[in-house]
Homo-oligomer: 369 residues x 2
């Protein structure tokens, strides 16, 4: 979809809402809407979208050349390194808003920095969450976006295959993490990864948000990879858990429960299903096997230009899945002494159900010593 078409959809979405305008700052929604890539820095950048008008943009003069090639009209107000010029630019960009305007912003992106300038430029305005409006626009991926995400999955999968032969007793989590990242980059991933890969061996894998350490792998360890690549801003986010050497019966059992939970969660995805029903599906399998309290997180989250975005696959979320929505299914079981097993796939809702973008096997794989 062209940026002009996206801007038209945004206008319509604002008009259908209780908002008068949407303000976006540097984050994934801004390039999605405008094609303009700016970094979050101590210099604020905001775009104000008001139905029926050209968007207005506040930008450091330093970045002005970035807007020279945009294929649609935009009123650009630049500021210099002098702080006084910042207020002037914000006032000019928001001057068209009515008194008491209701302005939607992105809760997880807008900072106190931008908010202060916005409030000062539009003192009568009320700032509220515009996340739902933005989510509505971004959740359903078109074919171009799907292809970009499939490629992000491919980059990550190739990098994993190149890295696995190096997992041997004595190698550290940090060493494997560096190698995995380097392999993703040489496969074409952008340097801004969706997150620092979680490479967790042995008992460390019991922490769902582990950070790579100097712990060295030992025979029998669980070997957990949770990683993803960045393809032009679109992310992949997958998890596979291996065993270094022979798996014990306890590990085999735990693994097979997670494998079945993952399968149930994937199978439940179809247009019309609620996000919460996918969580119910995975959780049911794990609870039946008696591991309920050890599945300490939600089943998944939306995925795209943000690594965590709607729809959130969590208990009680009655958001209805639609064709083109992309999300993870990532049930896990975490046992403090033994470690954790998690299997995470990147899914997309199709007209007849859902498909996994992830192509890696989910069968228990024992890495040779």
């Amino acid at each position: 979809m062209s940026h002009t078409a996206r801007l038209q959809r945004l206008d319509a979405a604002i008009q259908a809402s209780t908002l008068d305008a949407i303000v976006l700052n540097a984050g994934p929604s801004l390039p999605y809407m405008t094609g303009l890539h700016v970094h979050l820095s101590e210099r604020p950048v905001v775009a104000c979208f008001t139905p029926g008008m050209s968007p207005t943009l506040v930008l450091p003069a330093l970045e002005a050349q970035k807007v020279s090639h945009l294929p649609y009209g935009m009123d650009v107000y630049t500021y210099s390194e002098s702080l006084a010029s910042w207020d002037t630019a914000f006032e000019a960009a928001l001057g068209h808003l009515p008194e008491n305007a209701v302005i939607g912003v992105e809760d997880g992106v807008l900072r106190f920095l931008e908010l202060r300038y916005l409030q000062s430029a539009a003192p009568s305005a009320r700032f509220v969450s515009g996340e739902e409006v933005m989510a509505t626009l971004r959740m359903r991926k078109d074919d171009v976006e799907r292809a970009l995400m499939q490629e992000a999955v491919r980059m990550a999968e190739v990098a994993l295959r190149q890295t696995l032969p190096h997992v041997k007793p004595g190698v550290t989590e940090r060493e494997i993490s560096s190698r995995l990242i380097a392999n993703m980059l040489s496969e074409g991933s952008g340097g801004e990864l969706p997150f620092q890969p979680i490479i967790a061996f042995g008992a460390n894998s019991a922490n769902p948000h582990a950070v790579p350490t100097d712990y060295a792998a030992r025979e029998g360890d669980l070997i957990l990879f949770d990683w993803g690549a960045n393809n032009e801003g679109y992310f992949s986010d997958m998890t596979r858990t291996f065993v270094l050497g022979e798996a014990t019966d306890d590990v085999r059992h735990m693994y097979s429960v997670v494998e079945k939970a993952n399968e149930a969660g994937r199978a439940a995805g179809r247009p019309g299903a609620t996000a919460g029903s996918l969580d119910t599906a995975t959780r049911h399998v794990i609870e039946e096997a008696g591991f309920g309290p050890r599945f300490v997180h939600r089943t998944g989250h939306g995925l795209g230009l943000d690594v965590h975005e709607p729809p959130y696959i969590r208990d009680g979320n009655d958001a209805v899945l639609e064709i083109g929505m992309t999300y993870t299914i990532e049930p896990g079981i975490y046992l403090p002494e033994l470690g954790g097993v998690r299997i995470e796939d990147d899914m997309i809702i199709t007209d007849s159900g859902s498909e996994s973008l992830t192509t890696l096997t989910r069968e228990l794989t024992m890495l040779p010593l």
Copy 2:
């Protein structure tokens, strides 16, 4: 300095200010103060620091094990995946604040997400910028921090030396960027780099914030690297500009002006000097040579746990430099057709002046074809 000592300094700084408390969310100041590493995500994490009391912390239950080993008291309020429990945790963590409390937050770190929960939990409170208080605490680096930054410089320098032999006619900016990042990671850099390296060849180097493209280097191109590593959260941030093959007289002249400006900026750093005087020093050299309008940005910025932090080395900044402050000196000249030259060093104020943590040569280096 221990976290206990840092917390005592924070208490004293709040008492010396007009603030009643400081609230930090996930960002560099939180681990600096508490030793607690949490990622910015859609789940808010905040710590509230009120003089004379233990800090209070709001944390997802999922992350609760991270606080089990802290060497000081902290009142922890966790919330579950159910949204109702989020409000409860925020209310509990802020319940001790007086009516009409003035709460300092970090402008560039606090998001609308956290602010909404904070405002709802403390409706009479006024939220203001606490950046100056935090900057006072973090700007002066102790010997341990200096050593961490020196190591971040070393990682980046080794990676550059390993990468330079691959810069040949036909290689793309993207290829060199991937190789440079991989080399930093294998030198031990954390995966979360201070920024995506700017690798800009030829005319692309005229954009100070260029993003690596598929442009392939040609003989005679300017070759600009602006890159840095992450050593346990402490960043390096350096720039070197080379020529692929023989430099023309125009390039030699432009380079020598930037080299002299860099030297003047470095020489001006000493305890008691204002940050603005360093900008004056570099700018004077470039203006004298007639390139004034082509030096389109400030001279530098503070560096540490943030890649851009106070003191900002910009015109008119009368912040006074003190022993242990770390910052960049990075004058540049940008000519649209020809490209840009920038030379950036990481500096620290010492008792007698300042020193460069960067050890790479600043002399014009022509890369063999």
